[in-house]
Symmetry: C2
Subunit: 144 residues, 2 copies
Amino acid sequence: MTARFSRDALVRELRRRGIRVTAQRIAVAEAILGAAEHLTVQEIYRRVRQRFPHITVGTVYNTLEVLTASGLIQPLPFPGGTRYDTDPTPHLNVVCIRCGQVRDLPDDGGHLAGLAELARRRTGFQPLSQQAAIYALCPSCSPS
Amino acid sequence: MTARFSRDALVRELRRRGIRVTAQRIAVAEAILGAAEHLTVQEIYRRVRQRFPHITVGTVYNTLEVLTASGLIQPLPFPGGTRYDTDPTPHLNVVCIRCGQVRDLPDDGGHLAGLAELARRRTGFQPLSQQAAIYALCPSCSPS
DNA sequence: TTTCATGCAAAAGTTTTGCAACCCC
DNA sequence: GGGGTTGCAAAACTTTTGCATGAAA
């Protein structure tokens, strides 16, 4: 996920979503949007602190909740802590259980959409978001 | 998930998997296998403590890791902590993001199998297990 | 008898909370 | 100016670790 917003566009996007804009919030959003992988809260915290040495984890958590509620980012419960995703299109996370690397794949077969539809039909629940992970061994971590 | 093993069968199953059998491990396994829902570690701990008041969380975590490594149970990273699943067949978790209830659905359309296959083909990773969750609002929690 | 699990305790890590000062709108 | 946000601090909660004792094979 490369940066999808210029600074200005990001500010506009936040305002559009009814989020009060602060420098810290911009920094948090930029950290997530500019990352190639799904960052943990600590990783986000570390990056933002380079620009705002006085920011606290509490503020980061606060901001993550606001951004999540607005739909700009999505929390992914992972072993080892919550990570944040910015890809709004449904996709698959493939996780190596040994080295921890995560690869994203688009929902090419429409399987994720199919699962959401299945859930709606069978439970009457109203699907909002989804997460799918395959836990696997990457080639380097596979027993040769 | 109702209990799938008699006490004796469970002991045999643990031995078959190369797990050293202790009374505490049986209790932990029975708690998980006998539960209808996916229990958190604290819920497991609370249940087992009724039989073994001196057991510690450390032992529960230890046991969960052993049972996971053997493939008898599967950890599910959920918002709010890890839960444990005993259903070895791939299935879908539908979670109400407000009240937290979880419903399981079988992989009727073969979507989960399709995702694992997609992951294998596209990444070369060797799929071991999987998790799919739909975050949704249940009828009672839906804004009428 | 040897090896490994348990219990106890402490520590590391994650997430939440309360509140006064401050900043965005 | 008003109300929401920040920083600071403490606390609650989850998970990991070290070690002496005890139990399983």
